[in-house]
Subunit: 201 residues, 2 copies
């Protein structure tokens, strides 16, 4: 059997979206897992007052879906910000008994587990940061986590500083202020997106 046909049987589909399009069918169903194969999309939350706020950036290999990330169909839109290719897994189809017998199925599930574990780790890292009450503490926790991952005292952000403020869920200007305090206290050096940790960790 062809891999392609198998994927269809397992409830896995590949979709392409143009820049600006809404990745709509994916979130209507409540048991779906999406993986960004290529491109860039954003989960946008529409607040009760009409405010739209970016909830999550979805780059290559990002995972989303009701079970995995905080997307609920009522208040969320997923918009392709570039031409984007998405793999959609229909979980309820995937778990049909007739699929359970498939040879490939195990490997597939096993990979799925790895993807989910990764997402778990990321989310838990963020919770550890968000749990800190003060901006300074949040920043230090963030640096600590990044340091543990890279084993380097030089942190290079692959996103804008204003996005770091969103990640920490604090006001942008307040974060800049605190970064300055940390610089003044000679705990860090900041040069654009490069942050250097000066203290013992």
């Amino acid at each position: 059997m062809q891999i392609g046909k198998l994927l269809v049987l397992l409830g896995v589909h590949r979709y392409k979206y143009s820049k600006g399009e809404e990745i709509i069918p994916t979130i209507k169903n409540d048991n779906i897992i999406g993986i960004i194969l290529d491109g860039f999309a954003q989960i946008i939350n529409i607040e009760y007052n009409g405010n739209e706020l970016v909830q999550e950036n979805l780059g290559k290999d990002s995972v989303f879906g009701t079970t995995i990330s905080a997307t609920n169909s009522e208040s969320c839109q997923i918009i392709a910000k570039e031409d984007t290719e998405v793999l959609i897994i229909d979980y309820s189809r995937l778990m049909r008994p007739e699929n359970l017998a498939h040879n490939y199925f195990n490997i597939f599930l096993s990979n799925l587990y790895d993807i989910m574990s990764n997402k778990f780790r990321e989310t838990n890292e963020r919770v550890k940061v968000l749990e800190k009450k003060q901006i300074r503490e949040k920043l230090l926790k963030f640096f600590e986590i990044e340091h543990k991952k890279s084993h380097s005292k030089n942190i290079y952000l692959n996103f804008a500083l204003k996005d770091l403020a969103d990640y920490l869920a604090v006001d942008r200007s307040a974060m800049f202020r605190e970064l300055k305090h940390l610089k003044d206290d000679k705990l860090i050096e900041v040069d654009g997106r490069k942050i250097k940790i000066l203290y013992e960790i």
Copy 2:
């Protein structure tokens, strides 16, 4: 084959811990999933300054482990607060190729996925709350989520109010102050652990 033997083959073990004991072997390995079958335990985080803080309460059916919750062996201890029975799944053993052929394996993985999805949902709910910048907003988001789950305007907490402050990652007294403001504004009524939503939602 007996289920018992199968579980061993799959790298699944059942352990019992007495009150006060550390659930130590579980977190030494970095690829483990634990499920509390019975009892009560806590994940305790030891900060660099020696402070111990309860990171998570693990009741019946709670799931923990490096891939799933924020436990890293260096700074975390899991302590049984009552006599506790734990199911430990060794993920690296579980995923051995020879297991992939097993009939039960699929069902097992499928259940595991459900457990993980649940944990995902819980964590994402908390992130949604933690993302709010102000205590009032955090509380309102929390009420909103609880309301969506129960479809009732009466929220009954099955934990102490001080634990709600921890969940929201805010100061306890500041939370009480804000609860009072919400009461004054006639948005809620609070009676012990019972909270009644008075506004349209």
